[in-house]
Symmetry: C2
Subunit: 613 residues, 2 copies
């Protein structure tokens, strides 16, 4: 038998028997090339450029390709039989199974759509072939390979068949999920396959519109969670549910409308249609998760803080009134516990703790702080109520990280700061509070319990230079950060330092208990991954200086951005990652801090600030 | 080890080791006793009467049973351990797996509900047991045995959990179908489990309300199919669909309202609630099947007469707006072809052709005649458009089989007849037309082509006595059946005989072609089963005399009543029978008469009447 060599991009080379098709070779070589019509020469989608060795075009080539394409050496891969040595180039990245790249994370994954679309030219019924319409559709799909076999559909899909076959002249596209046909569409729509990942935060909701074939991000939109009108935090929203007859409906409707608006904005940005969106993935804390699904989160706020459901849920767009393609599916990520939700699962998915050889610590700081510690063998997770100090709330001059907020403070001789938007400062946000308290500690203006020292007790030279910034504000000691002492200055008060102490104490004690329960010492943690907007914005040195993160780990801190959102995108783009999410959620051991006998002591100790060197 | 003997009703006797529970013994003995709580002594449902050898009641016995019951010797079977020889009686037939008995059919089947209900006392969440609500429900079910394992539910069911667990104080009943929890209910509702079988005929719809545990019929209701307002037959209804923008909706809504009304009437008759109805089964011809499901039946009326779908469909009550328990399912029987529908599958299920050793013929005569011939190895089926003559339509004095209709005619010397309701005759129905034409043939008043003989050509002595009943009616020859020749008499005209010739010719040719295609002779058919209202009412001798049924088979005819409805009840009561329906529908070979080369000739021959002896 004659043999020939086929060379693919990147130099991959295979020697094959003459007569083998490029489709067979690519399958054998593990090249994830897409053949929408199953390799029957029908759809014209599997074009490749043969730069050396192109033979005569086949009849299918001539039908599907222009004269210009044929002249260039473009052929259909499914129909090309090797008759000489070939050099093959790929034309469209659509055909190749793409890698997902996440900013801020050394994280790759293969795109593996949850749903598949297959174009079928359905046989016509004749006296010799009296199979039903439904049978002919199923047979047409099965002929394209085992991945497009389907044997069930809702009656609403069956109802669409007679008119569709007629108007589409038997050329249709099936949307398939597992063994079910979710929808049938006119003509070949296999190219339209978008999805959206929703990261539903207590405060902010973000939507990422993605191409489910290429993994590319097409649009990003975000909005304030409109549930804030019913309460700023999870507990006050649950109170609304408990105290208003339509409370659950109010909150469910608010988030439903918000995600629908985000979807509308995203498809507008990308110049596509809502109908092109076939999949959605959703993360959020357990309360947001329940409210998105219309499930009463009441018991999440009551000991023992148990969710109604933790398992991954695949729901229909209709179930949550999401205005996307009704033949799509929504993939809701699983929860771990009442206060360790699907958002943390997203973080774990993105940071791959479950694949790590080394033990790593992941911290996602918001109103609640969720922490996980572990590696491929074992992961522990916990949650602490950090309170709103990190978000600038309940701080004397606190504000969100918006224009006018002092976001970073440097104690270099004098006090320097930067302001978001480079405008006159209006207040300070969480990261600046951290910097300020770290500076006060390092210059010896406060002691390890956070109390302002009397001017006469300040011994640090840098501290002495700043002593005139110690003022009295509304009757209690404060540090003057900006402005004049008399006219609405920007200050950090004793009360603010106490708020920060509580917040950092909660996080720090969670971290210490996780490390202890794991049977490790602080130094054994090889990496600290900070997730979330605040985690991404804070100065790691300040975080260690105040003891939010154990100072021993300062050199091992890495910012990973919105890892919850990144994990949600992964679960949207890859069915395998979604399955992994389920496994991760099931295997993580939840540590309930409140019932840990060491918690009270650890918390009390963790509230202390490290002694300045 | 000590051994004891346990005697069950009917004398079944088992010797078992001391300490074995009655539950274990019954399982081993194949006694299909129901243990709703899985045999944990919780539900108190598995009462038995121990007439000899009853020991001390257990703690569970004391909790579940009254002092009087205990004194009688009543115990819970799941908790009773054998410590001496026992005599056991069953108290409630609810507990035993029942046999289904169908009137008119020597047909038995075991009740095997499609859905199961299980009562669970759900564990409460504690700090030590932080499983989610959903997990605790699943675990509670799984603990009751493998048949009640479930791992999925729609989000609407999940939403019901928090309030339900609270109001039901964790005592709930799950409705399970395969691996899915369809619904959760407060307290123990395991006793409520009804279903309804709908036989949707072109003219009449019948509903049979059944107890899904005992197989008992609780109510029967029927109504005229309100679709008749849009056309009397299948073809005119399809024309309505094709020619009116809302035609399909009109017809779908009409049948939906009718079955909802029937269900309402049935539950009222039985003194139960719509909510107690968890299952429905549906048969009908292919057009009725499609219209019930809201599927356009257009192509059923166009060559090659292919249904949109033939496979069995399990749909939700919501899909067809059937106002039963929303946590139920509707089991639609499969079709065979465009004109051999789910009703014929019901007939085959009831008559068990697929289990027969001998070759039998089943004929269901209505506006269409459906026929099937075969045995366990092979079944052929066909359909012919018999026209409405058998239903009395388009016959000069024809009427339905209602009060005032002559229903049977005897040519015994003179002509005698019976009238439905014993009133003055108003017209004749199909069975009387058959009798009259048979009589005319046997007395030699008409020839084998159905033409009235001239008085001088009548040679049969009985015929000569009736010669004065040969009159002229509206200018053509007729036979005077009742009344006076001058004043609105009841007659059978030459035209009526021609109508009957066409109708019987269609059926008879279908039968002959089936027999020929099967490679048999008429005499090889061991039994002729006549199904349907008309088939049940006609005189078998007359049917053979006119050649509707081959005269050779006269002694082998058996009436089987509404076998389509009986088959529907079987499929409702037994999941096994429903699976059998799918297999039967798949395996039947449909014979398309129009494309059979022998059809034209056979039809022409079949229109002739047999020569009188």
């Amino acid at each position: 038998m004659r043999k020939h060599t086929v060379t693919f991009p990147g130099g991959q080379r295979l020697t094959v028997a003459a007569g083998t098709t490029l489709k067979e070779i690519m399958n054998a070589a593990g090249i994830n090339f897409d053949f929408p019509c199953g390799g029957r020469g029908r759809c014209g989608k599997c074009k490749v450029l043969i730069t050396a060795g192109a033979g005569e075009p086949t009849a299918e080539d001539r039908k599907a390709l222009s004269a210009e394409e044929l002249a260039k050496g473009i052929r259909l891969a499914c129909m090309t039989k090797v008759q000489s040595d070939l050099q093959v180039q790929f034309l469209s990245e659509k055909n190749i199974r793409h890698q997902i790249l996440l900013s801020g994370l050394d994280r790759k994954a293969s795109v593996e759509p949850h749903l598949i679309k297959r174009y079928v030219e359905v046989d016509k019924a004749t006296v010799e072939d009296m199979r039903t319409d439904w049978q002919r559709i199923k047979d047409g799909l099965a002929a394209q390979g085992s991945d497009s076999k389907a044997d069930t559909a809702r009656v609403v899909v069956i109802r669409s068949i007679p008119d569709l076959l007629r108007s589409a002249r038997h050329r249709i596209t099936a949307v398939i999920y597992k063994n079910e046909i979710l929808g049938l569409e006119q003509d070949n729509t296999t190219e339209k396959m978008l999805g959206i990942a929703f990261d539903i935060g207590t405060t902010t909701i973000a939507g990422y519109l993605m191409d489910l074939y290429t993994g590319k991000e097409l649009a990003v939109t975000s909005t304030l969670n409109p549930q804030t009108q019913f309460g700023a935090d999870v507990i006050s929203r649950i109170t609304h549910v408990n105290t208003h007859p339509n409370g659950l409906k109010d909150l469910h409707r608010a988030v439903t409308e918000a995600v629908n608006d985000l979807l509308g904005e995203a498809v507008k940005q990308a110049g596509v249609s809502r109908r092109d969106v076939y999949a959605a993935a959703v993360v959020g804390n357990t309360c947001m998760h329940h409210l998105f699904l219309g499930i009463n989160p009441r018991d999440v706020a009551l000991a023992p803080y148990v969710p109604v459901i933790a398992e991954p849920l695949v729901v229909d767009p209709w179930d949550v009134r999401l205005d996307m393609n009704p033949a799509g599916k929504i993939f809701v990520l699983p929860n771990i516990a009442g206060f360790v939700g699907a958002d943390t699962v997203g973080v774990l998915l993105a940071t791959e703790l479950d694949k790590s050889e080394e033990v790593k610590l992941v911290v996602d700081i918001g109103t609640n702080g969720e922490m996980a510690l572990g590696n491929k063998d074992r992961i522990l997770a916990c949650s602490t109520a950090a309170g709103p100090a990190f978000e600038g709330a309940q701080i004397t001059c606190g504000m969100r990280g918006a224009s006018g907020a002092i976001d970073h403070v440097h104690f270099t001789g004098d006090v320097n700061y930067s302001v978001i938007g480079n405008v006159e400062p209006l207040g300070i946000c969480g990261s600046a509070l951290l910097d300020t308290v770290a500076g006060l500690l390092e210059t010896g203006l406060i002691d390890s319990r956070g109390r302002f020292k009397k001017p006469e007790d300040i011994t640090h030279p840098a501290g002495r230079k700043l002593a005139d910034r110690l003022i009295t504000y509304n009757g209690s000691p404060a540090f003057l950060l900006a402005g004049e002492a008399g006219s609405s200055p920007i200050v950090v008060t004793q009360k603010d330092i106490r708020e920060l102490k509580l917040a950092k104490g909660a996080i720090a004690s969670g971290i210490r208990i996780l490390i202890r329960n794991y049977g490790l010492k602080v130094e054994d943690v090889t990496e600290v991954l900070l997730a979330g907007a605040f985690g991404n914005y804070l100065n790691p040195h300040s975080a260690c200086a105040i003891g939010l993160i154990p100072p021993e780990l300062e050199g091992r801190i890495k910012m990973v951005g919105n890892a919850a959102g990144a994990g949600c995108k992964l679960a949207l783009l890859s069915a395998g990652e979604y399955r992994r999410a389920a496994a991760v959620a099931r295997n993580v051991e939840f540590v309930e801090l409140g019932s840990d006998p060491a918690f009270i002591n650890t918390f009390a100790n963790s509230m202390l600030f490290p002694e300045a060197e």
